[in-house]
């Protein structure tokens, strides 16, 4: 209730000032009701509403809230969704993510038109999606052909196939290695959550203490 009213300036400031994706989500989330109410006004600011919903939608993706992002597209004013190009891009993006079509995801993010206000978040999501995929590919593959890795990571598979070293260099910077004989890449194993073991131990201790206190 104490948030300043939704405006272009407010939205731009929120996008610029949010230090982390979850902060961006937290800043934009309280505006959903206001934006929804504004959408029923006769002289509604279509551009502002469109930009708000796109930014809010992307903040869902940036925080891995895929289902909520889907529901947001159902909750937002449907006439706005049908007419706003950026929101249509969002729907296409969500579909590509859901269907695990990595190449389409990068195409939508990089080649479809996005407004200047939204470009920083779109770029953030591009980076986020690439890094997330890098971790996931590392978990799924023990050996992978460079072209396959390139298509997963939004790099140029055709150029990689032809021997362009850009993909290899980028991946080796992340600790991947290449078998010189076969040309196959060996992803860096990332599964190491030993840091969280202490927390796990604490959780178990708490439960055991609780059970212990109930005995007898």
């Amino acid at each position: 209730m104490n948030t300043p009213p939704l405006s272009q300036e407010q939205l731009a400031a929120a996008i610029a000032s949010a230090a982390t994706p979850s902060k961006l989500y937290d800043i934009l989330s309280p505006y959903e009701e206001e934006a929804y109410l504004l959408s029923f006004q006769d002289n509604r600011q279509t551009e502002l509403l469109g930009q708000f919903y796109v930014a809010y939608f992307l903040s869902h993706l940036l925080t891995d809230k895929i289902y909520e992002a889907r529901f947001l597209t159902k909750r937002m004013p449907q006439d706005l969704l049908q007419t706003d190009d950026s929101l249509q891009n969002c729907v296409a993006l969500l579909r590509a993510i859901w269907q695990h079509k990595h190449e389409s995801v990068y195409t939508i993010l990089r080649e479809l038109p996005w407004s200047d206000t939204l470009k920083p978040i779109v770029q953030s999501y591009d980076t986020y999606f690439q890094e997330k995929t890098l971790r996931e590919v590392g978990r799924a593959y023990e050996t992978i052909r460079p072209a396959t890795a390139a298509s997963y990571l939004g790099l140029d598979p055709a150029a990689t196939e032809r021997g362009d070293p850009a993909t290899i260099v980028k991946l080796m910077a992340h600790g991947w290695t290449q078998d010189e004989q076969t040309g196959l890449l060996h992803p860096n194993a990332i599964l190491d959550d030993s840091q969280q073991d202490a927390q796990l131990d604490n959780d178990i201790s708490e439960i055991m203490a609780l059970i212990g206190s109930r005995r007898g």
């Binding site: 209730m1 959903e32 009701e33 929804y36 109410l37 029923f40 809230k65 289902y67 909520e68 529901f71 159902k74 909750r75 695990h100 996931e136 590919v137 978990r139 799924a140 593959y141 023990e142 050996t143 992978i144 052909r145 396959t148 076969t182 040309g183 196959l184 959550d193 969280q196 927390q199 796990l200 959780d203 178990i204 708490e206 439960i207 609780l210 059970i211 109930r214």
Partner: protein, 496 residues
Amino acid sequence: MAESVEHIISLSSHLRSQDLLSEKDYQCRAQELIAILRRTSHSLLSEIVLTDLSPHEHTLPYLFVLLYQIDLARSRARSALPDDIKPGGRLWFPAVQFLGDFKGPQVRFAGHEWRQLVNMILDAAEGDSKALLAVRVLSDAIMRLDQNVCEFSSLHARFLRLCLLSQSYSYALPVLDRHISSIHTSLEQPARGGNGYLLASNSDANNCIVEAPGISPRLTHKDVAQHYLYGAMIYIALKEWDKALHWLSVVISLPVVNSVSKVMIEAFKKWVLVGLLRHGKLVTAPKIISSHVMKIYQAVARPYLSLADAFVKSDEQRLRTEADLGKSVWCADLNSGLVRQLFQAYDMFLVLKLCSVFSALTTKDIAGIAASSGLDSPAKIENLIALLVMSGVLEARLLQRPCDRSFSMLRLPKSTQPYYCSRSRMRVGLVTKSHALKVLTYNSEECNNELKIGRENIDLLVRCQGLSGVAGKGSSRGSIDHAAFGVDEDIMGDLS
């Protein structure tokens, strides 16, 4: 004392310093203020300007003035839902502001009025087809009112329905994820103090709402069943299958006398489908369900059970036939979405079954086995496996080959098992379970105290028995009459 605006505000101001007052004093003052507000004339309430009050500092006067203004708007417009009350209307914002800022301990003394306001918000949002606008307001209000005890009320089901209507499923989670641990029945009479005022429960400062007898809406079997069904539907939307299954199993296990309610039948149908989506098989029904109820379920949900049978037997052709035959049934039951998801789950479980048997496979091998389900090429299989591993469902490693691109190798480490055993999931599970355990132990302790079998009572009893033993050695005069205590060591013995 003559009632005046100043007097009301002064009494309300005293309640602000809750920490300085004893609990009894606080209750008396709150009850006194409510009694005054309830008998205050409309002319006096109309003298108070809402914008001059803060809902946090003057919760009770704000609530009564707001309700008075709502009544006024209704009588002026001669409508139960005038424009002033509708979302965006003149009184909508003060109501929303109040529900986001009120003081829970004060409102628990004015449960009837609070519920009136909440129902107004629910009716206005639903009546104006803007359910979304009320969802988070009500979620916050429910949490603010009832921070610890988690009492079930008829409001819960209405709130969840609103979440379903507005497709704001995740906004329901703060309320949904808390374990209900108290149900106020119409048989319970709230405690009264010496002055005749209702007393709030003394177990917690933020305890449940106190209702005057007769005013509290009576909870019915349907309220409880609907609440759990709606909750399950929200978890289904969020694909939290375990929680959905649990909530559905609560509905299908509800006690019945003769007939089974429609809500329970709907829950059973969803329970069959969710079980398949989560475990790839028909899950075992809770033992608490009596056989005659189970027979009714099986009779009315026959198409679902045939579909499940085809799924479990990995008969893809029959699964498609059953799904086609039952199309009208799934549509009528609003289960088409769940049935559609069965086909994705079918492929997933097919691969998972193979992975549980072998320690290494090629995508060509899997394609040969799964050809009938449309996964006929090694490339499709590789994509599916990569997806399963990336989403954490399966722990395996794919090995692409340098020259032969027609297939890849899949290695399944023996020590790793799919899905259930990953550390992070286990950690989340542990934290959730520990929270549930805390709620359970807290409430069992409350129960023990109510039944006089709490630790203190037992200690007292033991001390008394000890004394009697000592006394018995010397004299029989001091012996304690055990029958007077009436405590049987195995109080459930005669039931086993």
